[in-house]
Symmetry: C2
Subunit: 419 residues, 2 copies
């Protein structure tokens, strides 16, 4: 899983090598790097990975659903005698042109008028967030996010030392440099921004001279209801052209085809895309050539039908989780009803600390993500994220029943909220 | 090629959309991003890519030599029904453990005592440089490099706004935060640091409380002479342990197996590796899972024999270029004699501007890289980088002959140095 790494704190000060003093590494770090800290999720993920665990924690696709055969065929083709010299070689920083053309066509089908020059290929949409942070954030700049928000966005931006604020409500006295949103079936809340909310965000960006970062990681996974226009499309309408707009749209194949190939993109004004391309050149030269070529092959072969299949499977699992929650959740519990994506956000009775509850749950072979990790500031500890993507319906029903039993018992069993 | 991107300057100010004003994007950029500028190489690379060109420009492996069959087999294996669920899924930020074990064994065989916990997998060694810049550089920190030096290192570090200085000579009054070197067959100079120079660098890092960045991109491509110990190994000896040393070793499979898979690594003290892992998590979550798995397969299948083959081929091409230079180069020209790697560095008579010479050369279907791009500060414009990696010996002989004719004529033909 993505959230493990060597433990820094455990190690400091435990090694003494004869007369040699250990360097004071901490004193050498940049001020930005010092602010990047391990998240609470780290230790959790080690537990969650245990094979005996029924986990609603990982926000990851069901690996049994990957379009394996299509990838197999496309990698073989990319590695043919004819194609291998290109697939295994260095490539252009901006990305493989035929893939950017395919993505631009996708973007246009969502109402976002653009050309391949508006597309930068990235190593997952996570790299898009990182490059945008590097492009725009000076120390102290205001970056507005929802509460809760995607942990990875906080990680990407934190090293550039912004001041985080809430995108809705909160102080509007000073303008924000960046407005970061996951408008469709957000991680972790599962919520979708309404059309008026999207319009208002675009207006605000124009008024405050801000850049909107539209994280569209889950947008293709709508189960029901009508698609809403991407914020970028609304901005293009208001601005007259994508090349004069204020939105950077971050897309990815991670939730539709495969996260393991690390292929995502940023779509935006050519001016900013050109600058991001320069930064990407310094960051990793370019994303994997062979993965871009194979991804285009898979996308051309089966994108629509594959995503249609995914929507059906995930919808059934969402339904199973919603039904289980309505059946078993105790009074004082509330949850979101996502129209797509992978997540349901659960608010527990005020007195319950989801991190304490988590410790009880893992003893019983159950996992979820305590909500505290998703807050840029003071955490709401009586929250949790549940993902329905990995388990079949009967397992979801049984797991939610058992988690709800724990919630019901929480007040009596000592894992109540400390404060 | 890696050095192309949309042209920023050409576009600014050319779009007017009715009444809508274009945002002043420049005013929104971070101070670091403003400092990252297109290099001179950009336009050159477009020309160099023309198929009719005899190019000594690209510092890239011969694509005809990639271990295609081994990759084909390893991707098939990674995409088997059994393995695909893992290969296409998210993975740990620090990298695929069996690959880190293989790399740690490689490192130990070079005298660098380490374990997989000392290894972070990166998307090429370029990402290693970027993450190290982010980890350590505060605005104004002194970063010392050779002159000339690897352009990509300058690009990676520049966004963090250091003050660049020369690693040898120059002022030693204040200590350096980072000492960046390519000790073996450097890009672009082809030169190799001697054992005493390596020892002196380690002593200096200890004295000045600096971190050494050892860019070992070409180290496996030695054609002759004995391997010198990695700087990291010397540092480990002095420090008593890798976990108390001051060197971050950046390795890559780009020059040995394939650059298109983007698999490199950083090897260093666990403390710093842990911090770099956190930064990488924010930067792109992890490097491509399938590429790490396939790369391990190829490395296990044929690393040593493949690299032995490469050494033989590149050695013969180096020899052809050295012979051609000694045969055709006019008086006042000097060049390095690399013991490995891909590059020869040519110093022209003082009055010749290699950029002007380049324009004449491309008219005749010949390309090289004018040396100016490789200087962090005032450029020595009478220099060029020649790569012998891409052409067979007869083409090298003929191309060098024609370039030397141009050099000989330079003084008489108006493309002399302007100043």
């Amino acid at each position: 899983m993505m959230l493990t790494y060597p433990i820094f704190a455990d190690w400091i000060g435990c090694i003494q090598c004869g007369d040699t003093k250990m360097p004071d590494y901490l004193s050498l770090l940049s001020t930005g790097a010092r602010k990047v800290r391990p998240s609470e999720l780290r230790e959790l993920m080690k537990i969650i990975e245990r094979p005996d665990m029924v986990s609603f924690a990982g926000g990851i696709p069901d690996p049994g659903l990957f379009p394996r055969a299509a990838y197999d065929e496309c990698y073989r083709d990319a590695l043919s005698v004819l194609n291998a010299p290109r697939s295994l070689q260095y490539a252009a920083t901006e990305g493989y042109l035929p893939l950017r053309e395919w993505i631009a066509e996708q973007m246009r089908s969502k109402g976002l008028t653009c050309t391949p020059d508006n597309i930068l290929l990235t190593s997952g949409s996570q790299q898009g967030l990182e490059l945008i942070g590097k492009l725009l954030i000076n120390k102290g700049d205001r970056v507005c996010t929802s509460r809760p928000t995607y942990l990875g966005a906080l990680q990407a931006f934190t090293a550039y030392e912004p001041a985080f604020d809430e995108v809705t409500g909160g102080s509007r006295d000073s303008s924000a440099k960046l407005l970061y949103v996951v408008p469709d079936f957000a991680n972790p809340s599962g919520e979708t921004m309404s059309a008026p909310e999207r319009d208002a965000l675009v207006s605000r960006a124009h008024r405050e001279n801000s850049i909107i970062v539209e994280d569209a990681a889950y947008s293709s996974l709508r189960f029901e209801g009508a698609d809403l226009p991407p914020i970028a499309a609304l901005d293009v309408s208001l601005s007259g052209s994508i090349d004069t707009c204020r939105t950077l749209y971050c897309g990815t194949f991670s939730k539709t085809l495969s996260p393991g190939v690390r292929v995502g993109w940023v779509c935006g004004p050519r001016d900013l895309i050109g600058r991001l391309t320069l930064l990407k050149q310094g960051a990793d030269l370019h994303s994997s050539t062979i993965n871009q070529i194979a991804t285009l092959g898979v996308a051309k072969a089966c994108f629509e039908e594959h995503v249609t299949m995914l929507r059906g499977v995930y919808r059934a699992r969402r339904d199973a989780m919603l039904i289980a929650l309505s059946r078993y959740a105790p009074e004082g519990t509330a949850w979101t009803r996502p129209e797509g994506g992978l997540f349901i956000w659960l608010r527990l009775p005020q007195k319950v600390d989801a991190s304490a509850l988590f410790e009880e749950a893992v003893k019983r072979g159950l996992a979820f993500v305590p909500g505290a990790a998703f807050f840029p500031d003071e955490a709401e500890r009586n929250t949790m994220r549940l993902s329905y993507s990995l388990n079949p319906e009967p397992v979801i029903d049984d797991g939610i029943r058992r988690i709800c039993e724990l919630i019901s018992a929480a007040g009596d069993n000592g894992y109540a909220r400390a404060s």
